[in-house]
Symmetry: C2
DNA sequence: TCTTTTCGGATAATAATTATCCAAAAGGAG
DNA sequence: CTCCTTTTGGATAATTATTATCCGAAAAGA
């Protein structure tokens, strides 16, 4: 758990101004574990900060994410991608160009199910994040696709 | 590989009309493995079907997905969700109500990396899909959240 | 407190996706 | 093959999530 004092010094060390809004968003996010959306946070916080803007929540989340204080759940992909291969397989997503490769590996198909919590799993998928061969090799040409695909 | 004849009988068995557009989208999706978006498919197919509409591609993909002929890559979540827990952990997503639970299990933290293809992995995450305790128990009340969250 | 820089709020803009409406094509019976 | 009924496809408006823009306001440091 990162307390307020640590947060303050972390912002200072990175030269990022710590505003009331940023602290409020971060502390709200720390206090709950239901993975709220920007909208959810906005609805909750506007009670305490009536002048708060939804755009500010979005910008703040980007800032916190860039600092590594929060993480995004699910994919940052803005477009849905489809696949005619419905057999169980996994994916490797290139962070640089957005390319998605199939990963077939039987060792990934049978993973330990979530314990406790009463969750009934039906399926799972593993997403690897990293760099595809082309981008790892330094060919930045592919990066253009990123802006195109989101 | 599902050939045209099988596709035709599958549609018939489910009572879903098989149109030229549906067949075209499905066969194009079968022919490639770059996980195209609706937009990508539209751009490609409009050469052969000049009257094709983007909305039709979207509707067709939904139809094919509902029939289990194609799968969606990445998350179907329409809103980004955030988390103040940045330690390595995984997620269990309820297909009924959209709730996302954290899954901590060290056995999931060290999985075999994708072989070949030259992909350089930096991180990975496992997404379980299924039903949360409340939904599995039959409480449908939560389903309302789904439409709210997307 | 004063100055400079960066941020926050309001709102317009953008991007992806879905809803709407009617002509048109699919499926089945004869 | 033709007719009839039902469901789809095309064009476009609408919706939703997110980002950009512009200017007053707050933060950081001296």
């Amino acid at each position: 758990m990162i307390d307020r004092k640590e947060v303050r010094s972390l912002f200072k060390s990175k030269g990022v101004p710590l505003t009331h809004q940023r602290l409020a968003v971060y502390e709200e996010l720390q206090a709950r574990h239901d993975h709220p959306s920007a909208e959810d946070l906005y609805e909750k916080l506007r009670g305490d900060y009536p002048s708060l803007s939804l755009a500010t929540v979005y910008k703040t989340l980007q800032t916190l994410h860039a600092m590594g204080l929060v993480s995004r759940v699910d994919s940052p992909a803005s477009q849905a991608r489809y696949d005619a291969v419905t057999a169980v397989h996994h994916h490797a997503v290139c962070d640089a160009c957005g390319k998605i490769e199939d990963v077939f590996d039987p060792r990934l198909d049978d993973l330990p199910a979530p314990k406790a919590s009463g969750f009934k799993p039906r399926a799972h998928s593993v997403h690897f994040h990293g760099l595809c061969a082309a981008c790892a090799e330094g060919r930045r040409s592919n990066a253009a696709r990123r802006s195109h695909h989101g």
